[in-house]
């Protein structure tokens, strides 16, 4: 009863405080972004709360837990609001700069969290007695039951839902890429909590089962919503970021073939991007290129892919004979050899091929079918700048590479890769020529990176050896690529894409803390590995792997028997 009253109060509060916002927004003169975030957060919380109360027409929002998801959203709103308030106080020097609206928002969001905490917790699994103790109770509140079987919808509605999910994705991405540094932090906080909330509500599972059912529809919808992105921008400022993200993400998908599927820890992967980029620059007709030839783009892409593949085989053939950690170290070494080699092929320490540390600048813009990628074009009333052109071009390559990943994954070859990753000895006892297949994975990965590299050379007006380091504060570099794959979820398709987007945007947006970036990045990675070792997007195959059956937050009905200790 008390809980119900508290809910009433909190819904009431949530409303009043969103109403207060517009005034607050203008008075502080603060960029509106953060308040919008709080507003979105509170509306979402309210929706989930109402769904939890059984309001008709909203039940679909929470097939799983309602309270825990509302709590997540409430926490997200709370964190965003308090972050905003703190940021205002910090930047303008003191709490005095806060208008009353700020205080109201802070107090209201705190009350919201407290009142949601007062709600009866979701009853996950078959626990009969509510746990005692504040901490145990809090943990209990965070747990959510599995969503029940989905309501049967006509398939067109399900397809529409998939498209809507892609639309939401695009909106979130567009907002994130456009946010300023402070707004971006708020954005991260809120999307993080909202994603956790949606996960607890069972929405994530619904969407993922739908996208699984309509793989091709989902991929097409994702492709089109990605293609719509440049049309939402009125300048090239963010499309240039977007095209870099796209290249980075595509290379991460390529690396995922090597790391995620075949289980080969490659720490020098960025070298293959470099091989592709250098090859494309050399045959691009750039004035400083040592080869005075200009290939048409398709030929340049093919050359880049083939040269990368050859490098992949050359590097793979000796290194793939060692396993595990040794492979990581050897690939790390080869990655550095590539960069240092490029730095030294300058006519003094070697043949003049790459202009050494100067790189090859002045790679001309692409021209295809009379379409100059370097110029702005107006399509359907939308102005598309240089980067938007390249973005759309790269998107095609991304689509191709995504398809390569998917198709090789679900084939005899892909299964053999996963088998090698799981147990190389058993795989070869099943008749798999492990060395050949590992070499194939390595070469395919190299080829995909090479293709991305050929576009990169044109987008960035040239190539430079410093772009292909093992670790560097900005992506792409081998460490970040690997992190994108691991953070996103090894062996999955969307994982590396999401991971790469985050890993590109975070350093890009938060330049004010550039000095601590690698440190923070390391801490974040350690925390992630501790609490969600399977990455943001869990591989269907791996979902159970890291969860011990007796762990608090793991469902026990899976009966996950650990084969290794069971022997």
């Amino acid at each position: 009863m008390g809980a119900a009253v508290a809910t009433f109060a909190s819904t009431f509060l949530a409303w009043t405080w969103t109403d207060e916002f517009p005034g607050n927004l203008t008075v502080t003169g603060y960029p509106g972004g953060l308040q919008v975030l709080t507003l979105v957060g509170s509306v979402l919380t309210l929706l989930f709360l109402l769904a939890g109360l059984g309001v008709r027409g909203l039940r679909w929002l929470t097939p799983g837990g309602s309270t825990s998801s509302a709590l997540m959203l409430a926490l997200g709103t709370f964190a965003t609001t308090w972050y905003t308030v703190a940021a205002i106080a910090w930047q303008l020097g003191g709490l005095a700069n806060l208008e009353p609206g700020g205080f109201v928002a802070a107090v209201a969001s705190l009350l919201l969290v407290l009142s949601v905490l007062g709600l009866p917790a979701d009853m996950p699994f078959d626990e009969e007695h509510p746990p005692a103790g504040v901490l145990a109770r809090f943990r209990h509140v965070l747990k959510a039951p599995e969503p029940g079987p989905a309501m049967v919808l006509p398939s067109w509605a399900e397809v529409l839902l998939v498209c809507a999910a892609c639309g939401v994705g695009l909106t979130v991405f567009t907002y994130g890429i456009g946010a300023e540094a402070e707004g971006f932090v708020g954005f991260l906080i809120l999307t993080g909590f909202a994603a956790a909330g949606a996960y607890r509500a069972g929405l994530m599972r619904r969407v993922s089962s739908l996208t699984h059912k309509y793989r091709n529809v989902a991929l097409t919808a994702a492709f089109f919503s990605a293609a719509l992105f440049p049309f939402t921008q009125d300048s090239d400022a963010y499309t240039s970021v977007a095209v870099s993200i796209l290249i980075f993400a595509t290379v991460a998908v390529g690396l995922n073939v090597v790391v995620g599927l075949a289980g080969l820890l490659d720490l020098g992967y960025v070298a293959f991007l470099g091989v592709g980029a250098y090859t494309a620059a050399l045959v691009s007709g750039a004035p400083t290129a040592a080869l005075g030839v200009q290939f048409p783009f398709w030929a340049a892409v093919l050359t880049g892919a083939v040269v990368s593949m050859i490098f992949g085989v050359i590097i793979g053939a000796p290194t793939l004979r060692v396993r595990g950690d040794y492979l990581a170290i050897v690939t790390l070494g080869f990655g550095e050899i590539f960069r240092i080699g490029m730095q030294n092929l300058d006519g003094q320490s070697g043949p003049d091929l790459t202009n050494g540390p100067n790189g090859i600048p002045g790679v001309p813009d692409l021209k295809m079918f009379g379409f100059d990628f370097g110029e702005s074009h107006t399509i359907l009333g939308f102005e598309l700048g240089r980067f938007a052109n390249y973005y759309l071009l790269m998107l095609l390559f991304t689509a191709v590479i995504v398809m390569v990943f998917r198709r090789s994954d679900s084939s005899r070859i892909g299964r053999a890769w996963v088998a090698i990753r799981e147990d190389e000895t058993a795989a070869s006892a099943m008749g798999i020529n492990a060395f050949r297949l590992k070499l194939l994975a390595f070469a395919l990965g190299a080829t995909l990176a090479g293709v991305a590299g050929t576009v990169l050379a044109h987008v960035e007006y040239g190539v430079h050896p410093d772009g292909y380091k093992f670790v560097h504060a900005v992506p792409p570099n081998s460490a970040f690529l690997l992190a994108a794959v691991i953070l996103g979820g090894m062996g999955t398709l969307s994982g590396p894409l999401i991971g790469a987007a985050l890993l590109y945007l975070i350093p890009n947006k938060l330049q004010f803390m550039a000095d601590y970036q690698l440190l923070l990045f390391g801490i974040a990675l350690v925390l992630l590995m501790r609490f969600r070792p399977e990455g943001l997007v869990a591989d269907r195959r791996k979902q159970m792997e890291f969860k011990e059956p007796d762990q608090v937050d793991a469902p026990t009905h899976g009966g996950g028997l650990d084969t290794k200790t069971g022997v």
């Binding site: 398809m403 390569v404 198709r407 090789s408 084939s411 005899r412 070859i413 892909g414 299964r415 053999a416 996963v418 088998a419 799981e422 147990d423 000895t425 058993a426 795989a427 070869s428 006892a429 099943m430 008749g431 798999i432 020529n433 492990a434 194939l440 395919l444 591989d539 195959r541 791996k542 159970m544 792997e545 899976g558 009966g559 996950g560 028997l561 650990d562 084969t563 290794k564 069971g566 022997v567």
Partner: protein
């Protein structure tokens, strides 16, 4: 018992297989043949070298001496080529692909009997689709055969122990082997599961695959096998029908450490004494 009639063709012929690890001779000059349609048992105390012998047969180890031929052809020392040739195996400590589904595990077993490469997978050629469908059909057949069809989409790691062992057999059978090597297929099973496994092995034999099986469960071995070889300290002590082996005092001695009457040869006596020391440290 078919053991005495050597009418059928030889499937496996191991001659003088020896495996040394540094100073330790884990397997010393073992000869063994398996004929078509036969189930042969390999028994021996812990550490006798049974698994090592299997590893020599399947190319996981390169034997220090000796050679192994399958249907008249000498087997290479490469694990995947041995499987390609037609010898499949299971492992004593289950080695499934834990994070793949039951069906996928069996499909991996089909690897040597299909040949669709990367290109056909990328282009999704009609041939690719046909081969995938055929592989899946065959895999499902094997899952029906081993009674795992209902679990096709379960992750291998989530199977109960007994079913994991069965899945290993299904996966090995997927390569359509002429000889199946089973390393302790009933370890950790309850009596019902053991009986089911026994029926399964008979069924495998009836489908035309010869079987060589290591097992510590004597009842299982003596029910199942046409012929049994006993390995002690890396050397073959006795070989014969279950009845012969069962009544052989040296085997009893090697296993139980009880002294035996009769007059064995001097070298055999030494062997047995060694075996006794190993197993128990008897006061003979």
């Amino acid at each position: 018992m078919t053991s005495d009639t050597i009418t059928s063709t030889t499937v496996l012929d191991a001659r003088g297989v020896t495996m040394r690890f540094g100073g330790l001779t884990a397997v010393g000059g073992v000869d063994l043949t398996v004929n078509e349609g036969e189930i042969v048992g390999l028994i021996g105390p812990n550490g006798a070298g049974k698994t090592t012998f299997f590893n020599c047969l399947t190319g996981l180890y390169i034997p220090s001496e000796g050679q192994v031929s399958y249907k008249g052809k000498v087997l290479p020392h490469r694990s995947h080529l041995v499987t390609q040739a037609g010898v499949a195996r299971t492992f004593q400590n289950i080695r499934l692909f834990a994070n793949m589904t039951v069906l996928e595990n069996v499909l991996v077993g089909r690897h040597t009997r299909t040949k669709e490469g990367l290109w056909s997978a990328l282009l999704r050629t009609p041939g690719f689709k046909k081969a995938e469908r055929a592989s899946e059909e065959r895999a499902m057949e094997l899952l029906e055969f081993t009674g795992l069809a209902a679990k096709r989409d379960t992750l291998a790691r989530n199977l109960p122990y007994g079913e994991q062992r069965k899945l290993e057999i299904a996966r090995a059978l997927a390569s359509d082997p002429g000889l199946l090597l089973l390393d302790e297929p009933t370890a950790g099973m309850n009596p019902q599961e053991t009986r089911a496994t026994q029926d399964l092995v008979f069924a495998v034999r009836d489908q035309g695959t010869a079987v060589l099986v290591i097992e510590h469960d004597m009842r299982f071995i003596f029910n199942l096998c046409d012929r049994v070889a006993v390995l002690v300290q890396g050397e073959k002590l006795v070989e014969g029908t279950p009845a012969q082996v069962q009544s052989d005092e040296r085997v009893v001695a090697a296993y139980l450490g009880t002294p035996f009457e009769g007059a064995p040869g001097a070298d055999e006596a030494a062997e047995v004494a060694q075996a006794e020391q190993r197993t128990e440290g008897d006061d003979q």
